[in-house]
Every structure is written in structure tokens, then in C-alpha cells.
Symmetry: D2
Subunit: 300 residues, 4 copies
């Protein structure tokens, strides 16, 4: 008889918006929360008995109730509350994994004192994943859809050439990518002090952007390493960083047939291609640490 | 024999990125340009004769060549160059319609003097559509995907109740929408001075956001009217505004079964729904002007 | 004071699934229904008074209640019921427009007599739009996302060449497109017999596909005309057809650098491009009829 | 100094269409091919030296050249050719992973003998992933976006109830899901005979659908187990199956306020919800085999 391997279940993509009022000044947290539970779940697969199954509908209710009861200090803190609850309150549940997307809003400037109007920032989506097995924690945070470009200071040459190689070497090209990044915290134990999750996120994003901008790049791999390395060097709370960086190709358009010179040094016209794209993926580790972020990044 | 009605053709979604270098400071324009031509095109439909057809591939080449030759001062100005070219250079082409999406980038702060690093802003997408028939111009600009929210100062009551009405009245609700807007300029003639397209866009967006934030709303229709009306009142170059505003419902979650009070006045928890959504669409006109923006807004 | 132009409102994207049981054999209708109402709606825009406003929530309830009360014989018939109801039951509402997407399902073959298992077909999405102003009807049906390809019998040559033309002529190319089509019925009056909507749809799709496949094409415009023309010729209930056909380019890959001949006559390897794409749009009319389908097709 | 962890690079989403001509009868293969290479790649990350880097552009060229040279008997066979080439032809490359999406086309029925017209089937997308490290092979195939529904024979009751549980038990509900599945072949060695990849895919899909349709379901987990188990039992070439099954909720609409009874036994009206959704994920293994398919399924 075929046997059951790794499994999990829960309610995905619970969209929760929490407004906090501080007089006329309102604050907003806008999350998309996914719950995955695992444990003693053989019977529900083999016979359909739900005796050990907390309904996914209940996990949804818990998300909304906790947003009211505990508030949302940060996505990470909220996920920790939820994960702890599921693992400690139901015996058959051994592990909980909470994934959260967070959407940022900024204030709309208005004439009066009121501050309850917001416009969605729309840049990157912030991410976190909390995993708890009853004894230790793993927190991996990250972001996706952050598009960046250097319009110069990127080269690509000196590569292997085989019979299928036709690419000319480039000494001044556009380097653009849509950053998907994840970073793992070394916090794993309730005895340790938790990081300041909000500050950590802002600082990681800042270092990532600066490393992208300030690296004179001979390959996207080199830029990726600098981005990860700078985070490890500046943020003691993080042991591992992984990036998946599509090389969003911008091809110099051949305008010679029309009697026009299109050269990078004068400012140039590019075709921004969709597919195919180079895809560069790597993990950067604090020396002595093991890689645990999976090879393939997934959104939620 | 069935006969040919309205028709047009061209190359859609030409992705063009133009870098301009001012020493170490680079500037960027990032557009998605779609060309549609119409005119004396019966034969290509009836018999397949391409004798009057400028290939869509040629219209693509023209977009890239013009970006180099003329630069891109603004999406509107670039579209005007292109439309004029197609109508005046090919006898069978009587009308050209150029549609452009523009993606905004902001600079990444860096240590040195270099300024060639950018992060995509990611908020709204700016739009324009230029139509030229050889004698007069129509310019309709706009935006899409600008998500805004008021966390209070919105009510909804006093409506019609029929046998299918179950909705309770609301005296303090979230009002959120994803703005799709278009506005038509009254510039139509080469003899008139052209508006300052860049300033106009920034000001329209500013007025739209302020009107959204500062209106105490009894209905989304009222908010929409205020948004359009404020643009007409402040921007003399614009005669018509149309909005398509989905009512992005945020439902107060019922937490009573869990012994929790979830009331707007204390700050509350909401479920952000996807579908269905209310959809409010209307045109606001300068007094004496005719509506010309189509009832259905389309993206490109 | 700025004045109100064309406006409408309603609940969009009501997802309704209706199961009908005929013993152990079940039938399914799976629709996405959008309601738009217009009429005497000045005050809700100017002052926020909702005295003439039937809530969009009520229009949603009506969709679900009607699915139970009247069933869903076809998307068109269902839309007619809804539109008539809104216009005749509320004095301030003068016009109703109902848009419907329909998703097709086919049965999964099973061992027993039961027939309640379905797999979504996933090919095109069927569309209809019903407009009623209290006296006359307009029904425009259609489809989107139907991708078709001819791997030969397509040429493109004899076109205009200007200074920006570099495209070589083609005597054997792939012709592929993703059909978006709309067709307008000449039924407009309750006194006329209604068409058999289900049969009409199947026949229109069949003729469209056969015309695409059997036309030896000198231009995509010619193929488009044949597709529309064949519908007009075979379906007396239809007076107007409009297509928006992206030319989904398949470029012959240059394999000469690798010593390989890649010629269409031997079967060839193509790069399927995303953007840019040619876009061909046209209306085909029964002789003597006026075009009424808007130039820009919209999804819902 | 931070150190480099797991990494890979290559060209993603190479869209390749191969036409094969058998007289007037054409055949089509339509793939989206992604190449990922890894090996001795420290230097390109640390110093930017590309001395060991075969350009991603070259991997793209190789995909197109191989489609011509070797043809595409199946996605799996094509991936095996590519993976072997990269690992055996470049010393620094130790492992190649090829991911392929395949889009199915069916013929359009036409009058004549010609058979070169196709319509895209549009149902599921077929997937495969080939990994080769120079000595052993891993082939994981699968599909995504296959939406299925049982309109009865599904129950859900007898579950755990805690203080956040409000869900009523259900004795006759709709069960619908969008299948994402992967299955791992036990072929791993060039000495073994390869499976018939095309037959295998068709049979796996058939068994999966039948198991979904014929299982009287007490939980989606039970249905999932039956789907995987049936594949393991019928297909000796497969040792492991993993599914990610969103529970696409169809909620019975409450029509009581309108005096209507909406009961499943009479055929009923449902609201098809988008988010949140239950998400059920599990692996089913041939007894004695180890799980190797990652917990999170990724598209390409």
C-alpha cells in the first residue's frame, strides 16, 4: 500500500487589515496570512477521519481574532503568536508554518489634522515565514518584486565560448533585476531576545539597495554576492541570505539601418525584453553557518 | 457580401527605455508604446493586398529610432511626434493613435557622485493616448493601479431597499479603491501652445489624492465627483475627467463568537475582499464641454 | 461648476455556480456576472444622497436569487432576466447592462452511473453583454483567450517600404493569434423570437475556427475578414462581428552560426515572442447595418 | 568574510516551438525551457571572473539548436539531451537542471486534406524537471492548473472544535480544486530502459482524474491520498507523487431572506470564493521509497 510522506494543511491567503486609532491619527497594517499545520495526520489521509483535524476555517478565524486580541506589531511578531498558539493548543499539531505578505502604505498629505488617508506604496512586497515545532523557531523574512537598474558600471566578458556561443562581450551595459530575496534570522529560541523586526527590515533593504548601486559589476553573480555579503556584515541578527535575480535584459537597439548611432556613452535606446531572461540564484552565509533556505524561493 | 467597418492595426507594446547622460548623472524614461493606424485599408481585408500597409514591424522600428532622434521629453510629446509622422508620411494612413504606459523610477541614494542607479517606484502606471487625423489632436492622459484608502469619514445609508436588500446601513466604514482615471486636454490644434505635460500630470495626481483624502464621503460616487471636479477647477488645460473606481470592500469581521468586540471606533480588524466589488464609473465635465472619453476605460 | 457626464454603477464579478440535478446526472453553469445600472443618479454624485441608489450589494443578492428562481438556461437568457428586473422594478434606473463570463466544464469519465464530476475545459472564456433601456435590447456575445495557429499557408509581402522598414518578405510563415471576438445579435425587441443562444455560440465558434484554418492568408487582416464574413454569412441572427487579433509572432531562429539549416519547408524551430506584437482590429458588418460594438473590446 | 552557499544560473523561459512536417500533416511541440547550471562557480561570485561561466545566452542558443538537431520526442527526452550536453561538455559544470512547461494543441477540423491548423487546448500545463549530475538522473514530471469539481459525494464533519471554531458540519458539499501535481520516476541510470514518457503522462492524468471523480470524500486529504495512491498502484515507473490542492470553496448562498430554499439535494446556487482557501499538500510514496520532491512546488 502506498504510504504517506510529508504533508501539511491550513488556510491560505487570509487578507487581514488592522486599523489602529491614536486620536485622529490612524495606523494601518495590511497582511496576507497563510497557515500550514502538520503533525499526527495519517488518518485523515488514509480513512478520511477528521478526528485530529482543526478545520482550516478555524485557522482563518484565529488569524482575525488574534489581530484584534494581540494587535500586529510586525508581521514577524504576529506570525510568532499564531504559530505558538496552534502548536501548543492542539496535541496532534506538531509544527506550524505561518507565511505573511505585507503591503506598505504611505500617508496622503492633507490640509487638516486628520491622518486617516493612505496610498499604497506599491513597491516591493514584504514577506516573512515563521516555523515552530514546539521547541525551536525559524524566521525567514524577505521581499519580492523590487525592480532595480544600473544604467552603467556593468560589464560582461571573459566567459567560456563553445560552438553555440554568439554573444559579443559587453563593456558598458544596463544591469537590471527584479529582486526576490530571503534572509534567515539566527533567533531560534524563546530565551533569546527577539530582533527589532521593523528596523531589521528597513536596514536590510537599505543595505541591499546600496550594494546593488555601488558595486561596479563584472557579472550579476558578483553583484548578488555583494548584496548578500553586505547584509551579513551589517546585520548581526541574520546568518543566511538567498537571492533569485532575473537578469532583465535591456538590449541596445540597432539603429544603424536608419543612419543613427546608438552608443551607451551618449545615452542610448534599449529594448526591454520579457523572455527569456538570465536567472541567477545563490545563497550567502555567515561563515560557519549551514544553508537552510530552500533552493527555490516560493511566494507565500 | 459582408462589409468592412471600423478598423486599425499596428504594433502594440513596444518596450522602450531611454537613458540620457548628463555627466555622471543619468536620467531614464521607461515606456510601453502601442501604435494603431487606420485609413485606406479596405483591400488588405478583402483581398490580402498589402499595397497600402506599412508593416507593424516598421512602426516598431520608428518608435526606437524616434526615441534616439527626438528624445522623450514626455510620453505625450513623444506620442505627438510619432502620430504626426505616420499621418503625414504615408498617404493611405489617415489617423494614428499612440498609446503609452510610463513606469516611474526613483534614484537609489549612494555614497559617491554617481547617479545612475534606480529603483522602480511601483505605484501607479501613467498613461497617455494621442490621436491625430491630420488636422486636429486629441490627448487623453491618465493613470491606473493607484490604490487609496480612507480608514474613516465614509458612510453609506439612506439608500433604496427592495426585497433583495439585506445590507445594514454604515456610519463609519473604510473606503478604498484602485483608481483608474483618464483626463482629456483641451489642446487640439498645432496653433495652440501645448500644456506642460509633466507638470500637468503631477498636479492632477496631487489634486486627485487630496480630493479623495479630504472628502467626507456619503457615497463613492460623491468622492468620485469631488476628485474630478477638483481637477477641472484647478487645471485649465483639462475639460473632461473619467474615473472607474472599484469599491474595494473591507468587511468588519464578526468576532463576537470569540467574545471580542470589533468596533470601528476602537480601531478594527477587516477582511479585505477580492470579488465581487462595487464598480463606480463616471465622467466629470467642464461646463459646456462634450464627453468624449469612452464609457469603458482600456489599459493601453 | 463641473457637471456630471455618463455614469453607471453596480456590483462587478459576482461568481455564481449553479448545479442542476437530474437524478444522478448533474449539470453545471459557472458564471461571473457584472451588473451596471444608470439613470437618475445626479444627486448621489453631487450631494451624496443615496435616495435613488439601489445598493450594489442588493444587485449581488439579486444575481444569486435569480439563479435559483429562474435557473440559468444560458448566460444570455440569464442576463435578460436580470436587466429587465432592474429597469422595470426601480423607477430611477433607466438602463441596465449585464456582462457575463462563462467557464466551460466537461465531464470526467467514470466507472459507475454517477455523473457529477467535471474538469474545467480551460480553452476560451465565453462572454455576453446585455443592455436594456426599457424598450429595446442589445445583445453582444463573444469570447476571449482562444489561441489558434496555422503552421503554414501564410505569407506577408508587397507592403509599403519607408526608411524605417527592415522586415524581409515572408512566403511561408506561422500565423498565430489569440482570438478576442464579439458579435452583435439583431434581436432587439421582446416581440421577436429570441435566438437559440447555446446553438448560436457553438456555431459561431465552429465557423470562426474553420475560416481561420481554411483561409490561405496574405495578411492577418484578410484572415480576420474571412472569419467575420463567414459568421455573417452563416448566422442570420448576427449583424456585426468585431475581432481584436494580436499577431503572436513566431520568429524562425537563425541556426546558421551552428551549421544548421532551419527552413520552414523541412519543419522548423521558432522563437515564440511575447512583446511587441502586431495588433489587428476590425469590424465586419452585414450589408446595410451600422457598427455599434466599441472600437476597444473590454473583458467584462 | 561571508561565504557562498548553493547557487545556480542559466537562461529561463526559452519559448521554443518545433513544427514537424509529415507531408501535408504537421505536428507541433510548444515548450518553455529553463536551464540551470551549477558547479565550480565560486570565482564569478567573489571576484566577477567569468572564466568558468558559459553565458546564459549560449544556453539559450543550445536549446534552439538541439530542437533542430535532435527534435523533441517528448519534453522529458529533450531535457535529458540538454542536461547531458551541459554536464559532459563543460568541465566546470557539474550539475544541470532543465525545467520544461509544455502547452498542448489539438487540431482544428477542416474540409481538405491539410492538417496544419491548431487550437491551443488550454487545460492543464504539463511540466517536467530533469536533473543530472554526470552519473545519475532524476526526472520529476507533473502538471498545474487542472481544475476539477465534484458536485456531490463530499462531506466534512467530525473535526476538532476549539474556541475559534464556528464552521457547521457538512454532509453534502461541492469539492473543487486546481490540481498541482508532481511525480518522480524511478529511472535514474542510463543502463535502465527509459519509460515511455508520453504514455506515462496520459495514463497518470487519467488515473488522477478517475481517482478524484470516484472517491466518496470525507476530506480533501483523503481524496488526495486516493489520487496519489492510484498512480503508484498503476504506474510502476513512478515512486513518488506530491500534490498541492487548494480547496476552492463553493459556499451555499443563503437565500432564506428572499423566501427561497437553497438546498444541495435540489441542485443549488453557490458563491465561488477566491481567497482565502484551504490548502492541502502531501506526498504519497511507494512503500520503501524516500521522499525527494520538495515540500513547496514551484512552477518552472
Amino acid at each position: 500500500m502506498p504510504i504517506l510522506g510529508p504533508n501539511q494543511y491550513g488556510k491560505a491567503e487570509n487578507r487581514v487589515v488592522k486599523i489602529t486609532r491614536d486620536g485622529a491619527t490612524h495606523h494601518i497594517k495590511d497582511l496576507n496570512v497563510s497557515v500550514s499545520l502538520s503533525g499526527d495526520m495519517d488518518e485523515v489521509h488514509y480513512s478520511g477521519s477528521n478526528a485530529n483535524v482543526l478545520p482550516t476555517d478555524t485557522t482563518k478565524n484565529t488569524v482575525y481574532a488574534f489581530a484584534k486580541e494581540h494587535g500586529i506589531a510586525s508581521a514577524e511578531q504576529f506570525g510568532i503568536h499564531l504559530a505558538r498558539h496552534f502548536v501548543t493548543s492542539q496535541e496532534p499539531i506538531r509544527t506550524a508554518r505561518i507565511r505573511i505578505e505585507e503591503y506598505a502604505w504611505e500617508r496622503i498629505a492633507t490640509a487638516g489634522e486628520d491622518a486617516h488617508s493612505f496610498v499604497r506604496q506599491g513597491q516591493e512586497t514584504r514577506l516573512t515565514q515563521i516555523t515552530y515545532d514546539g521547541s525551536s523557531w525559524e524566521v525567514v523574512s524577505g521581499l519580492k518584486d523590487l525592480t532595480v537598474m544600473n544604467s552603467t558600471n556593468s560589464e560582461f566578458w571573459g566567459y567560456v565560448k563553445d560552438k553555440y556561443t554568439t554573444l559579443p562581450e559587453a563593456y558598458d551595459r544596463i544591469l537590471a533585476t527584479e529582486v526576490a530575496g530571503r534572509w534567515r534570522f539566527n533567533w531560534s529560541d524563546d530565551e533569546q531576545a527577539t530582533p527589532d523586526w521593523e528596523t531589521s527590515y528597513e536596514q536590510v533593504k537599505k543595505h541591499m539597495l546600496k550594494a546593488f548601486a555601488e558595486t561596479y559589476s563584472l557579472s550579476l553573480q558578483q553583484t548578488l554576492y555583494q548584496m548578500g555579503s553586505r547584509i551579513i556584515d551589517h546585520r548581526a541578527e541574520i546568518d543566511e541570505v538567498r537571492f533569485s535575480l532575473p537578469n532583465k535584459h535591456h538590449f541596445l537597439v540597432d539603429l544603424e539601418p536608419f543612419g543613427l548611432k546608438n552608443a551607451t556613452e551618449d545615452g542610448a535606446v534599449y529594448f526591454a525584453a520579457d523572455r527569456p531572461y538570465g536567472l541567477i540564484e545563490a545563497t550567502i552565509l555567515r561563515d560557519g553557518c549551514e544553508p537552510r533556505i530552500p533552493v527555490d524561493l516560493t511566494n507565500l
